[in-house]
Amino acid sequence: MTANTYQLTAKEKRFIGLHFIFAIAAISIGGLFGPFQAMEHAGWDFYTKFLNPIFHSYYEGLTLHGVLNALIWTTFFITGFMTFLVIYGLKRPLRYFWLNQIGWWTMVVGLVTAAIPILLNEASVLYTFYPPMKAHWAFYVGVTLVVVGSWIEGWGFYLTYMKWRKENPKTRTPLIAFMALITMVMWQIATLGAAAELLVDLIPWSLGLRAGLDPQLDRTYFWWTGHPLVYFWLLPAYISWYAFLPRQAGGKLFSDSLARFSFWLFLLLSVPVGFHHQYVDPGVPSGWKMVHSLLTYSVFFPSMITAFTVVASLENAGRANGGKGLLGWIAKLPWNDPSVLAQLLAGILYFFGGIGGLINASYNVNLVVHNTAWVPGHFHLTVSTAVTLTFMGILYWMVPYLTGKKLWCKKCAVIQVWLWFIGMTIFSNAMHVVGLLGAPRRTPLGQAPYIPEEWAGHLFRVGLGGVILLFSLYLFVAVMVGSVLTKKQVEKEVEPPVADSLLDPQTTPRWLDHWAPWLIGAAILLIIAYGPQLIYQISTAQFTSPGFRVW
């Protein structure tokens, strides 16, 4: 394709690796509390028996679990992975390396600033931090800095891309860089909601500069960010499925142009959907809930394109490996490669996660599941498996690439992936079931007086799944640490497995490489979907809620 074969420098590799070290450290702590919660449901309460007084309550643990996994593990991994995608995709160094370093340090300072109040039990407000529950101001400032740091890294990517564009006016943007950039732009539009909530409301309020807030308005700000947040998690996994997995499995990307098209649709449709998290809110008219329901259905469509293209690419790979017949190609996929296995199993559970997501989005059907255990059951298939297991799979090739050392105990990695799949299947299924029966989410069910005896079997399975996941998590951490500490070098340098497309990307229509129409379209959709309600909610806001410390 291109003669320019820029290789990452040791400095760039170290910078990316630093992102991953923080991500892995975050999930190794945040992930620990998930099983504690699951075991609590099963009646094995470690919080009151062993964890107190270091970790003060179930909710401090739950806050750590949500913040460290859903915000830190994801954001640090994703910005690190994007740094690689931009440099390796564009085949050039970052234009202003120092700018990305500033972004990185901002994220680290934010992480520390938020972690201190959480660990001191001064911010047990969960990762949605709904006011008027009031955390220590440092928590809000820390979360803000993590987001701002990710923005700064994003600006570094944009400036690098602009320079590349000047140098390569005719070339289609290389797919991996293209997808990373769209994901970052989507993220920056998405986080405007949280930025408004944190900067205008929560931070001044927690510092005592504002007496009261309107919690309904803050919910609307929050969910402007809250749903596209899941696309910020998912799209990097999609990037791996589209652009790496086909090559890792021995084939080619089925359709370059549809991959690009689906990413533009995600830019358009990921954000104007937040009210589907607020179907049961009192302060949002049902007509607007319906509009967001329709838009949420629309954003399901690019995921369906992804499903087709990824499976078609895998079939291409399986047949290239000698697979015959209707389904024979499946057996010929490299199931013994932990990186491929992780992504295949992530995809299988994501199928069920997708179905559940569609149910959640279905307007009045949401009445059955809203705020029940069904919801964490659902998103442990999406963010905690489709995303997290894929990220683990990416690390299984990327750590040897970055360090030049062999993956320590490949067999352990394969077992780890299977344990995650099995543990999550058991856990998630049981959570869905108790949720349908009416069990609330975010609740230590072991203490709840209204839980009937008959649910004990399901709650046992919640705990069992949690125990299996605990083993899987630390096997993953062991493989990561082992791979960094091992003295065994790779035999030959790892080449990043970027898939070729079946068709030359240069034949992809030019309109799929133009930013302006898509950005304008995204802005118009946002104005339509959010404009009237935001104006209404802001102009009628009653800032009557003081803060409460209720934990």
């Binding site: 009192p282 259905y297 469509f301 394109i305 705020n371 975010r442 034949t507 009653q542 209720v550």
Partner: protein, 163 residues
């Protein structure tokens, strides 16, 4: 290079898949619309605002409880607070319709009436409202489904439907 043919190159199977995907979404959306409009499976709409710091001044929430507005038609005014509902218990005869009005004195709460389609977010300053008809006698717990502090797991009440 310049002469390369540009197009989307859509595979025939892929086109079919995309059409089926869209049709599926259209059918689903039709189904929830019909359920909402024809069968009355409603999500909450804004009804009124209150000052959470001064519910005593509110006409309706100064004295929470059950009010009979017509035979077997009730309005239930419930205040959610850390960590209980007021009132905790409501008794109605079978066949009754209760329209719930729920608000919060402090933080956000949830209100999910088990085995019914009543499920609401309770937000201070707002009044959440949904109605339900009780066709079967029995006890229906309403439980707090939003994290509201250390005592959250114990927060619930019940509707007792007597024959």
């Amino acid at each position: 290079m310049a002469n390369k043919h540009e197009s989307m190159h859509m595979d025939a199977y892929e086109r079919t898949w995309m059409i089926v995907s869209i049709l599926m979404l259209v059918v689903f959306f039709g189904a929830v619309t019909v359920a909402g409009l024809s069968f009355g499976v409603r999500v909450p709409d804004p009804v009124s605002r209150v000052n959470p710091n001064d519910l005593a001044a509110s006409v309706t929430f100064a004295e929470p409880g059950l009010k009979e507005v017509a035979p077997k038609r009730y309005e239930a005014y419930i205040v959610a607070q850390t960590w209980s509902f007021n009132p905790r218990e409501i008794t109605v005869p079978v066949g009754s319709v209760i329209k719930f009005y729920v608000t919060s004195k402090d933080v956000q709460h949830g209100f999910k009436l088990q085995n019914t389609n009543v499920n609401m977010q309770i937000v201070p300053g707002q009044v959440s409202s949904l109605a339900v008809k009780f066709d079967k006698p029995g006890e229906y717990n309403f439980i707090c489904t939003e994290y509201c502090g250390i005592g959250h797991a114990a927060m619930y009440g019940k509707v007792i439907v007597v024959p």
